[in-house]
């Protein structure tokens, strides 16, 4: 089960942000352990864990009294929050590591904010399919749409993301 730690972390970071993702990651695995003896019939453990991570992320937003999903115009505050995290990571390191971590953190923050700008279904399809590696049929189960629609949303979402990122690059001096 721990082999899926990376996939679950990606989903948590995408759904609640890098800073809160660690807590949701742990809640996800504790919930999975709690459910384990009754989960013998689970065919795809990874999709099952991603579903738990999704539910725990929604719980997290509900507790925080926030909207369950970042809306399109949330780009600026999200980008600020993620860059601040990268800065903190960089400050904790030293010398060249600071520069490298800061640059890597800025690149990641840029991609996260571009993901946050995508329309809801595309954003989730990109997260579940391209980032977490679930199959389109499993994504459709999470999104409540058809496999064809999930496939289209993942593909359109990635295209839109590419355009987003090219636009951001051009804005940089």
């Amino acid at each position: 089960m721990a082999a899926h730690g990376t996939v679950v972390l990606r989903v948590c970071r995408a759904l609640v942000g890098v800073q809160d993702a660690d807590d949701v990651w742990q809640e996800t695995f504790l919930a999975a352990l709690r459910a384990y003896p009754e989960s013998g019939g689970i065919r795809n453990r990874e999709a099952w864990l991603v579903t738990i991570a999704r539910n725990k992320s929604m719980d997290h937003h509900r507790r925080a009294g926030r909207l369950p999903v970042p809306s399109g115009n949330a780009q600026a505050p999200l980008a600020v929050a993620w860059t601040a995290t990268a800065g903190a990571v960089a400050a904790a390191a030293g010398g060249d590591d600071v520069v490298r971590a800061l640059e890597a953190g800025e690149d990641a923050a840029m991609v996260w904010s571009a993901v946050a700008l995508l329309p809801e279904k595309q954003r989730l399809a990109v997260i579940y399919h391209h980032l977490a590696g679930l199959r389109h049929a499993e994504v459709a189960g999470l999104l409540g749409n058809s496999e064809a629609a999930a496939r289209r949303a993942a593909s359109d979402g990635l295209k839109a993301l590419r355009v987003q990122l090219l636009g951001q690059d051009r804005e940089q001096p």
């Binding site: 721990a2 899926h4 730690g5 504790l30 953190g105 996260w112 391209h130 590696g133 990635l158």
Partner: protein, 206 residues
């Protein structure tokens, strides 16, 4: 787990610090799970002169010691089926077992003083295993001699089976059980491991 090469290039920057973050989260999980009463089997892997050993323990005590040739993944999968799927790598829960084995391989320990969980052996096998510690350090006994200690003194072959399926080798010294003709006989850790253990116990003490 999906590899980074499967990530679309647009998403690659998101993966930069993942490995460190996941390692940190995994390291913290056993304590949180134990606090929530969710770890039924804790395990760790230790190095030894007979190769890597998997140690697994329950709330009762040490439940499994496995040689690498048994396939640690297969052993963990079997524990998930027979004991509980709530298995986590939690090294600190097996500190005592790791320390006593280390002392044993260093020639400083002649018997183990660990709580044991015998649940993986039932009936006659369990009876045989319970008698194994009566064969002292540096001594050997034949399968027939061990059978004579049990309620079925003629069940020599069953003693062989019990030793071959010993869930707690080293701690329950099935390596001290040899054939009546004096030859070593088989060992679940392999013939080389058995020879090494018998030589270790025959060596002059430091």
């Amino acid at each position: 787990m999906i590899a980074n090469r499967e990530l679309p290039s647009e998403l690659l920057p998101l993966a930069v610090d993942e490995d460190g973050a996941v390692a940190r989260l995994r390291a913290a999980l056993p304590a949180a799970a134990a606090a929530a009463g969710l770890v039924d089997v804790a395990y760790r892997v230790v190095d030894s002169p007979v190769g890597q050993l998997l140690l697994a323990g329950t709330e009762v005590g040490l439940v499994r010691v496995a040689f690498s040739r048994e396939g640690h993944d297969a052993v963990l999968a079997a524990l998930a089926t027979t004991v509980s799927p709530r298995i986590l790598r939690a090294p600190s829960r097996l500190d005592a077992a790791a320390r006593e084995l280390d002392e044993y391989f260093g020639g400083r320990r002649h018997s183990f003083d660990l709580p044991l969980d015998f649940r993986l052996a039932n009936g006659f096998r369990r009876e045989v295993l319970a008698h194994l510690p009566e064969i002292g350090y540096g001594h050997t006994a034949s399968y027939a001699a061990v059978a004579a200690l049990t309620s079925s003194p003629r069940a020599v072959r069953a003693v062989g089976t019990a030793c071959a399926r010993n869930p707690l080798p080293l701690v329950l010294p099935c390596h001290r059980v040899i054939r009546s003709d004096g030859s070593q006989g088989a060992y679940l850790g392999g013939p080389d491991a058995k020879a090494l253990l018998l030589a270790l116990e025959a060596a002059p003490q430091p």
